[in-house]
């Protein structure tokens, strides 16, 4: 239950509110997750007035404001097409107007397409906290400890590379349904290749980050060899993971 609403105009004011222990105070991005899920008494800090809805490109990085709405990613036509596909896959047009990028990333579960692609892109989060110092953390290091990392802290930016080839493929009951199995693959000009699987568990999993794509299919098959649940057997997921990784790598090769 939401018992307080705040809309600060500065990062400092936001951090000050988030640092309170009572009432428990959390960030309100688009609100899709909090407004839907929250059962305990909380205060919310709406970040819509903080100016965190910008996109810029510097060097080999796209710098995405944490409060940017998912539809803004689609409207900005320089982002990897795989990321755009994952956005369209994850949310309808309505929800894309409200959902923020950071909110979507930090509330990821295993079947979330967008965090899977961000993880394949080796996205980094910039977080500010009580000491007003900013910290950079890779999404892969953040997700397992997200509750702890968010205590009194605010994600302000997400950095993704602008020089990768990225692909995203999935299988689901219907084209608009959440994936039962998904693969996101990024390849850097150096040949560095990151492979991420989604469709199962608490969060997407990175199965390969190597100097090239060698062993990617085997790694994918192994990573989901015990990923069985009510949606699909582990055998199916392991087989399909290898196929989707192969498709992703083929697509990247064709685009080179």
């Amino acid at each position: 239950m939401i018992i307080e609403y705040h809309r600060p105009k500065t990062i400092e004011e936001t951090i000050s509110l988030l640092s309170r222990e009572d009432p428990c105070t959390v960030v309100l991005g688009g609100g899709l997750y909090l407004n839907e899920k929250e059962k305990t008494q909380i205060a919310v800090v709406d970040i819509q007035s903080l100016g965190l809805d910008t996109i810029e490109t510097k060097g080999n990085k796209h710098i995405l404001g944490a409060g940017i709405k998912l539809q803004q990613l689609i409207d900005f036509d320089q982002l990897p097409s795989a990321l755009i596909s994952s956005v369209k896959h994850q949310e309808t047009y309505n929800r894309r107007q409200a959902a923020t990028l950071a909110g979507t990333a930090i509330t990821a579960d295993g079947r979330s397409p967008i965090p899977a692609v961000l993880l394949a892109l080796d996205a980094e989060l910039e977080i500010v906290g009580k000491n007003k110092q900013s910290e950079m953390i890779h999404l892969g290091d953040f997700l397992p400890f997200r509750e702890k990392k968010l205590e009194g802290n605010l994600v302000i930016k997400i950095f993704i590379p602008s020089n990768t080839k990225t692909a995203y493929h999935y299988a689901a009951r219907s084209p608009a349904d959440r994936p039962i199995i998904a693969a996101a693959v990024s390849q850097w000009p150096s040949g560095r290749t990151r492979v991420v699987l989604a469709g199962y568990g608490d969060q997407p999993v990175m199965v390969l980050d190597g100097p090239d794509a060698g062993g990617a299919e085997i790694a994918a098959r192994d990573a989901y060899s015990e990923a069985g649940d009510q949606w699909a057997s582990a055998e199916y997921r392991a087989d399909a993971a290898a196929v989707l990784v192969r498709r992703s790598l083929n697509q990247i090769a064709e685009n080179n």
Partner: protein, 448 residues
Amino acid sequence: MMLNLELNINKETYQVSAYPGERLFTILRRLGFSSVKFGDEHGKSGSDTVLMDGKPVNSYLLLAAQAEGHEIETIEMMGEHPHQGWKETRGLHILQQEFVKTGAIQCGYCTPAQILAAKELLSREPDPTEEQVRDAISGVLCRCTGYKKPVEAVLRAAARLRGVEVPPIEDPIEVPPEWINSPFDDSIPQEKTVQSIDGTTLTAEKVITTLKVSTKPEDWQQVGKPKVKVDAVKLVQGKPAFVADFEHRDMLYAKVLFSPHAHALIKSIRTEKALEIPGVAAVLTHKDLPRVIYSTAGQSDPIPGPLDCFSLDNKVRFVGDRVAFVAAESEEIAERATKEIEVEYELLDPIFDSRDSMKPGAPVIHDEKEYVNFADSDPERNLAAEIRIDIGDLEQGFKDADHIFEAEYEVPKVQPAHIEPHAVVTYWDEDDRLVIRTSTQVPFHVRG
């Protein structure tokens, strides 16, 4: 702590008080914007769509406080009925006109949301592709139309708004020449068979009908001509047409206490604490209602199912079965009161598998003396229905079959996911008749 908010809705300013966690949806409904419909709590159905700064958003997922400082738009500001007595109006918006003309409306529950989403699309893309239209309305679930007609309506409206002429929808239907053949034409094969190499029949296809279409439908007054749905103009404006849209002075709100147990007797039930809550008008238990047995099955008469339900009983037969009703001055008070009802259950052996339910000695779920059988139902075996349907000579069919496959098939319960929730409004009218307004396909069950 209440927040005092200033909301800009349809170009007008509203001063409202809201709880910090109160949804924009709740405020809009309270202000009388009936076009904004409740579909779900998750933003999946989209019938709660409004435009915020021109963009479609789910008002149930948005706090009212989040909307302050933004322009909210509902379909109430888009168009009007073209004929209001002697008064001339600006009429319906072109999008609304096309939704009416093309037949893009069936139940109409999602129609205002679809039109708002389409309006936003056409404001940024005057000449959209079909894919763009489908993406723009992707946040609005339509269960009735299959999207074909709404997409057609949006594309036609887009063309008209660009000044492009569209073919009149009233034009005679272009009839493919193959449709025009008479069903009695000897050239049409009435039965088509496929035979194997050894001459045995593999499949047989019987032509049952051939469509007869007039070559000159313009000669006819009704047949072959599109008709506007009688309530389309009302629905396309989001007028109050659904159960939850109707409110009466001093109306009470009802909530149900549901059973947490699969099979149990209610040993005692105490309502004093619930009744003490200010604003609670009544708490009803099985002790307060006559035992009228009925069936929830079927849409016909005779009812195709046993009579095995009571509004409230001293026994609960599934998790979610009804235990008590509360009527109060608000939904929140009624909900709170359900939590203050004290129930002592005597737990009975539950059944979780239909096969177990028919075994000798299984717990009997329906042991009420008022139970009325239907056909082969058997409450002693927990059997609600047993149906065998044979078509043709089965024995001969099996004899003739090259292979016989036997298996047991299970099908899940199917929820067709109607977007309008179950709702009912009742009141005593001026002739002291109880009027029941409810979302149902079986009015005579409700009447019974």
